[in-house]
Amino acid sequence: MFSPIFRDAVIFASLISLMSLGLTLIYITTKVSNFAHGSLVSIGIYLALTTSSVWASNPYYCLPLAFGFGGLASLILYILILRPLSRKGASSVSLIAATLAFDLILLASLNIYADYLTSVYKISSRAFILRGVDFKVVDQPGIFLVAPTLVFTIISSLYIVLTRTKFGIAMRAVVENPQLASVMGVNTNLILATSWFLSGGLAAMAGVLLPLWFMVSPDTGTSMMLSVFAASIVGGFSNIYGAALGGYLVGLTEILLTNFLAQNVGSWMIPYRPAIPLLAIVATLLIAPTGIAGIDWLSKIRRMRVRLFGPAS
């Protein structure tokens, strides 16, 4: 019904979309490029492994737990490190350096945990895959259904929260103008903390779903960051819907184009797969640095219509 490569592409793109959503959310609220986002994803990966191999349960059940754990780790990074730093007037370069350091600490902790799992529970904790424990819908793997549905659910609930609730409107106000928002009585600190929690939670949820289809290790999250950054930049780094769309664009292109090149040029092309997101970054920055969300599509369409059919009477 569906070719396996198409399944790969949809699952990968959905997860990239989920990660890019959180990364962009942080960037528009706090103006920080969070280089530790990848290790937050890996937290989810190891929660899924613990749930399935240690607690002998279905990894899907730990999605709420992952949301909490990832959110908490992300909140620690923000409250204990980044907020004090930026209050002292640290530059954005120092903030990036701090997130890199946090990434390294998380990466080492996850590796320690992976060693611990292997030595105590005798389970393989590196380069593992949990496809076997996934459920099936007719003849399709569950993850193929769950991943895009999750992205769709999250985007629509975010849309409702941001446009229909008081909290969401306050959040948009903080993005537009933090000073003015706090003058108007918005609790800026609470809003920023919430967005960090949300971002980390979404990252860890993506992490739980990863091993259900792909082979993973402690550094999987970090190595996916290239695609996540590419998705965010293609999406414009200014708008969460753009980020989600960018995630699908970059994720689908990365898998399908690699597959196409491998079949038509030669299998030696496969290892160079990371060049695709990199080229996406370079092309976006050179041609349209504001990304998909930054382009005024309506006026472009209108101008095109005028050029094709003449001015509307």
Binding site: S33, S92, I96, A97, L100, A101, F102, A275
Partner: protein, 351 residues
């Protein structure tokens, strides 16, 4: 004559220091003096090392008429043994190739720095940080998979340009040469930051808008800065390849060649050449001692203690950024002409 273990420990320490101080100083030039966030230092370090793996062996094989039917990559050990036996009796050629390789590494590093930063140099710092990080990842993939470059997963040997020294003195000699290169680069950067260009570099860092209203080409200066910094970083990579007599792509990861240099610069104090030296020396010594005593505590933990290294230095960078962002030696105003000359002029004026 066998050197005692303590002497070997110190020689190895100084060699590592010489390599890392070159890289830390180049990073300090970019980040500290210029405010350009280079989170992809590994790109040019790997570039330099790949030049050292790719160029000198091939050129020496031509010079010494080594049978071209012996494949350079798959029979690398054999080719290298032949080359090194020639080099043993030919110190002039050895040093010439060494110097030419360093120059070529610098040129390749400069080109890589320009190429990697070009798409994002006009945009926000975050974009530059992301692109440079991404490029740093890509070069490892190229080195790992394109076997003719540096032998892919197996790596490649680098000709021993000090084969004529021989024995244990080789390492002492190599260390002295590398310290010499590091000292030359130190003097070069000192001169550079005291020059008019150095003052413009700091001005663009402190206030890019103010600098551009005064007619300074901010983007042009940043590009030039990255070119110089990348050239120096590549020399560091080439030195490392010569010192270890080998290049293997998997050794060029972002922790060893981007993150550790960042810790060194922040520890010593950004925008301060002496700080970079002190920071590198402290860091390299601390890591060397940790590596040395690691196995003594290894049995206490049910995991690989190497990970504690990451946590320790990650925490150290965060604490430094939070509580001592100026580092061990803070940035001081750099006098344009040196204090003694200034005092002489003042005295002359008073008379």
């Amino acid at each position: 004559m066998a050197l005692p273990a303590e002497a070997l420990f110190i020689i190895d320490l100084l060699a590592l220091f010489a390599i890392y101080v070159v890289i830390a100083m180049s990073l300090n030039l970019e980040v500290g003096y210029g405010g350009v966030p280079n989170f992809g230092k590994v790109l040019v370090v790997a570039g330099g090392a790949f030049v050292a793996g790719w160029f000198p062996g091939r050129i020496l094989a031509l010079v010494y008429n080594i049978d071209p039917s012996i494949d350079y990559i798959s029979k690398n050990t054999l080719v290298m043994a032949l080359i090194n036996s020639h080099l043993k009796t030919d110190p002039v050629m050895a040093l010439l190739v060494f110097v030419v390789t360093l120059c070529l590494a610098a040129a390749v590093g400069a080109a890589l720095g320009l190429l990697a930063s070009y798409p994002a140099i006009r945009l926000r710092e975050d974009y530059l940080a992301i692109t440079l990080t991404a490029m740093g990842e890509l070069i490892k993939i190229v080195g790992y998979n394109y076997i003719p470059l540096v032998g892919g997963t197996l790596g490649i040997q680098v000709p021993d340009c000090l084969a004529f020294v021989g024995g244990e003195m080789r390492f002492t000699f190599a260390t002295l040469i590398m310290l010499g290169v590091a000292a030359a680069i130190f003097l070069f950067i000192e001169r550079l930051v005291r020059s008019p260009l150095g003052r413009v570099i700091r001005a663009t860092r402190d206030d890019a808008v103010a600098a551009s209203t005064l007619g300074k080409d901010v983007v042009g200066i940043r590009i030039r800065l990255l070119i110089v910094g990348s050239a120096i970083g590549a020399i560091g990579g080439a030195l490392y390849a010569f010192y270890t007599s080998a290049t293997i792509a998997s050794a060029y990861n972002r922790v060893d060649w981007t993150f550790w240099p960042w810790v060194m610069v922040m520890l010593g104090g950004a925008a301060n050449n002496r700080g970079a030296v002190v920071g590198t020396l402290t860091f390299v010594t601390a890591r060397k001692l940790i590596t040395f005593y690691k196995h003594e505590i290894a049995f206490l933990f049910p995991f690989d203690v190497a990970w504690l290294d990451f946590i320790l230095f990650g925490l150290m960078l965060i604490l430094l950024l939070m509580f001592r962002p100026e580092g061990l030696i803070p940035e001081r105003p750099t006098p344009t002409i040196g204090r003694r000359r200034l005092e002489e002029l003042m005295k002359a004026k008073a008379e």
